[in-house]
């Protein structure tokens, strides 16, 4: 069972209060009508789905009802950090490979 720190509530809460919402940092095309089918399909459906470090959105559905981001390992399920919408992760696959933790 995961213990998740909501960056808005500022507390660790039980996994049951949250919903996972998939890959983070996907931005909606600014000019949807100008997209090719390829670009629109990529935006809508295609995902990174990595084995290892993943940046993903979570929703504190039974709490403050805010979306936030998380850096988590998809194999060990270890949570490295949670951060607010609009912020960038401080832990990445590259930074971990570079020996920082």
């Amino acid at each position: 069972m995961l213990h998740i720190y909501c960056p808005y509530c500022g507390e660790n809460r039980d996994q049951d209060e949250f919903k996972a919402k998939g890959e983070a940092h996907i931005s909606r095309p600014l000019d949807p009508m100008g997209c090719t089918d390829q670009q629109w399909g990529d935006y809508m459906f295609f995902r990174k789905n990595p084995r290892g470090v993943h940046h993903e959105m979570w929703y504190h559905v039974a709490g403050c009802r805010k979306f936030f981001n998380m850096t988590r390992d998809t194999v060990t399920y270890r949570i490295y950090e949670t951060y607010k919408m609009g912020e960038q992760p401080s832990v990445t696959a590259e930074s971990l490979a570079g020996g920082q933790s």
Binding site: M1, L2, D14, Q15, D16, K19, A20, K21, G22, D37, Q38, W40, G41, D42, M44, F45, F46, R47, K48, N49, P50, R51, H54, E56, R72, T74, V75, T76, Y77
Partner: protein, 416 residues
Amino acid sequence: MQRFSGFGLAKHALSHHENWQRMWRNPTPKKEYDVIIVGGGGHGLATAYYLAKEHGITNVAVIEKGWLGGGNTARNTTIVRSNYLWDEAAHLYEHSMKLWEGLSQDLNYNVMFSSRGVYHLCHTLHDLREGERLVHANLLNGIPNEMLDKDQVAREIPALNCGKNARYPVMGATVQRRGGVARHDAVAWGFARGADALGVDLIQQTEVIGFRQSNGVIEGVETTRGFIAAPVVGCVTAGNSGVMAQQAGFRLPLESHPLQALVSEPIKPVLDCVVMSNHVHGYVSQSDKGDLVIGAGIDGYNGYGQRGSYNTIEHTLSAIVEMFPVFSRVRMNRQWGGIVDTCPDACPIISATPVKGLFFNCGWGTGGFKATPGSGNVFAATLAKREAHPLAKPFSMDRFYSGALIDEHGAAGVAH
């Protein structure tokens, strides 16, 4: 291949069953094959079997990183049915259902396919309308499916709580009587034995770690035992498909999630059919050994650890007890997870890829066991002719660009 029969059983009893032939060889990989299948689950093994049997292509290797059928094939709740809503999906799953019906004879291997009936409960007016719609869509496609009212359901499934005091009272159900369960391991082993007998090399404990290509054309696979060449490669790696696509240089519209199942201690026969409920989200059947086989929902997060969350188990069991209060004191024996490759429209991807000669068969997500023979059959034809089998055509990954999705979230409602 040594054929199995009742007579053989008696004969081998005389030598204490010590002289049975091994079911398949354990060959060293050749340098080159006509076709390489990556992934020795049910779908990969079925593909190899039908390639050899129906297309005469026998210089084939199946490369499996663990052991045959140790992935989702070994981890699923074995529900088999073909009552999908949309024409494309219904035809594909029905193709598979027809193969199930003669599979034990075809393979000379008892896959224990048991048409014990699959019930989908309806708990709301909306459920009833969706059920009616599904039944009629199926009938138009020539796939028998029936709608039952509450009294019929109560008569046919005595252990089910059909009382009006249930939190979500049962109002009716659809039933596909040809549906049922099969023995998962036997399906993998039967296909493996059949493929091996036709000359296919089954190579276990060998992981594919890369695809060698030149100018966008496949040349073979890099493995933990070196390079193996082939002009055609079919990748059938279920939950690991996203990682495989990344190795080949493209992305798939897939996300991998843990999906759990659990079995109880064995009890006396109490449930002779498969019961599923989209509304409270639970599904259960009873195995021949007597244990209740219970499937959970997926964990919402992406995950590759073959285990899931305890709260998912808790939700599942509360749904089961809601449906079957008599199970409330049954103890659970074992619980495990598999990694399922879920697709946005809850349908598989059987497709050519940006790499010429490399094909993928994946995205079966939570419900591909039932498709094992059909998936292998159409994928074999696709690999043999290097163009999509007519039943596979609508399942190309191009649909995520054209918009021609096949939205089976309704019929696939619960994870099965």
